[in-house]
């Protein structure tokens, strides 16, 4: 397993230049996420429009390259999606990232750019870095104001 498969170009780029790294005014949903094992902290805010689609979303906090890039790409991926579509994407992403190392086939269809994180499952100690943003998003839209952790 090559490092390049974990740190794909797209990930390195989003780490350096995170998109939607901002606060969202008058957000409808928000949550904070912690990875207590590495001290990462993430705060996520989003707002749905009247038609029930994500109008805006932003994140803030400190984290490693994987977790920053994952947050950044996640915000891009969910913008414009309905709640149901977001949850389906969460599910898809989660299954890809946590598939066993020796899994023969991992479903990627529908992930688009998020496929860049397919290498993470070969680095078991880093899976949580990739999924923190998604768990936080999940909490934000299913539990309202809440605090999640990845341990």
């Amino acid at each position: 397993m090559d490092l390049g498969e974990l740190y794909q170009e797209l990930i390195l780029d989003h780490n350096k230049h995170p998109r939607n790294f901002k606060r969202v005014a008058e957000c409808t949903h928000h949550a904070r996420g912690d990875n207590p094992l590495c001290g990462d902290k993430l705060s996520l805010e989003l707002v749905f429009d009247e038609s029930g689609r994500v109008r805006d979303i932003g994140f803030q906090g400190v984290g490693c390259a994987i977790s920053r890039a994952s947050s950044s790409l996640m915000t891009e991926a969910v913008k414009g999606k309905t709640r149901a579509e977001v949850l389906a994407l969460f599910d898809l992403f989660h299954r890809m990232a946590t598939a066993p190392m020796d899994a023969e086939h991992v479903e990627m269809a529908g992930l688009g750019k998020l496929e860049a994180f397919s290498g993470v499952r070969e680095f078991p100690m880093r899976v949580k870095c990739a999924t923190l943003a998604w768990h936080t998003l999940h909490a934000a839209i299913t539990e309202g104001d809440s605090l999640v952790t990845t341990e």
Binding site: P36, P124, M125
Partner: protein, 424 residues
Amino acid sequence: MTAEQSYEDAGDGLAHPFVKPFDVQKVRNDFPALHQTVHGKPLVYLDSAATSLKPSVVIDAVASVYGRDCANIHRGVHLLSARATERFEAVRTQVAEHIGASSRSEIVFTSGATSGLNLLASTLTQAHVRSGDRVLVSMMEHHSNIVPWQLACERVGAMVVPIPLDKAGALSLEAYANLLDTKPKIVAFTHVSNATGIVNPVQKIAAMARDAGALSVIDGTQAVPHLEVNVAEIGVDFYVFSSHKAYGPNGVGVVYGHKALLDALPPYQGGGDMIRNVSFSGTTFADPPTRFEAGTPNISGVIGMGVALAYLRNLGSDARVHEKSVLNYAKTRLRELPQVSLVGDSEHQVGSVSFVIEGVHPHDVGTLLDKAGVAVRVGHHCTQPLMEHFGVPATVRASFGVYSTCDDVDRLCDAVNATVAFFR
């Protein structure tokens, strides 16, 4: 070490064609400690209830952690740490399956049954017991399932009330039913008595507790080595055991707790790993099971316990049938010896038999048996209230493992006869 598979190879036609006969000689070859002499005589180890011997696979697993996957777990990103973490956490899943828990997050690793029972006594009392409340504890308990409740209840001003036993040493269900009318908050009892081997009707005791609105805690330390345990079938809220009595390393134990109940408990010890966020202005805690696992656990011990439970599972029910036949043989033979009386004789009994010899104190019996190469335990077995119930200061206890044989029992009985003769 290659096993002489004499029993299997003998082809004496006695074994049922579809049942693999239990090859105790092969099993014995797995336990290096068996193959030594004591005072010039081959060791007869009849002290498995104190601690079981360990098969080579367990000893090797522990050594492989120290010799290869030597790292601290959970917090490391490097390969050794990843390997150690994976082996450690795999045991959690395995233990959950082994005892029929519904989720791996219901399994808490401790440093032994005693610390598991202290964890529960302390946190359950803190969460659910108030001044004037009652906790029922059976009179046949090991001190480890009495004293923690006394210490915890004293702190909140609650009472520990003993559940009486009948003459034969079995729990009195009638008395228990009456005590449940006093609305105790918790009922704590053993699955199998370590002093007598008596098996409690745990399913019934747990159901009665539940019906009375009490939480139930079972000390399964002497059950896990000898019985198929399923916490869901038993219907118990918490179940505790030690690794070292079930062929695993020492310094390790397990607490099973029903998920919703564990979630509601405060932390027990504070330290690394069990936290979410630490600050002098306020600390927050992780979810179970992590909340209850402060500090570096006994990593090699947990991994070794996983190997031990797999070894036991692999022997299957044949081993249990074999153990039971050795126990029954021991009871039959001991009953025949003049001056010997069994203590706590019961149909429902596994693993151990306790007895006294008229006119000879158990301590002297222990020394004479030792000289004959026979290792038994003598004393009160950390069950002083039970000894008082039987009106004896101590007993001699012979206890069995998967490696025990009827030859062992014969050696025991010969030594008992010699002891009686010596003190005549």
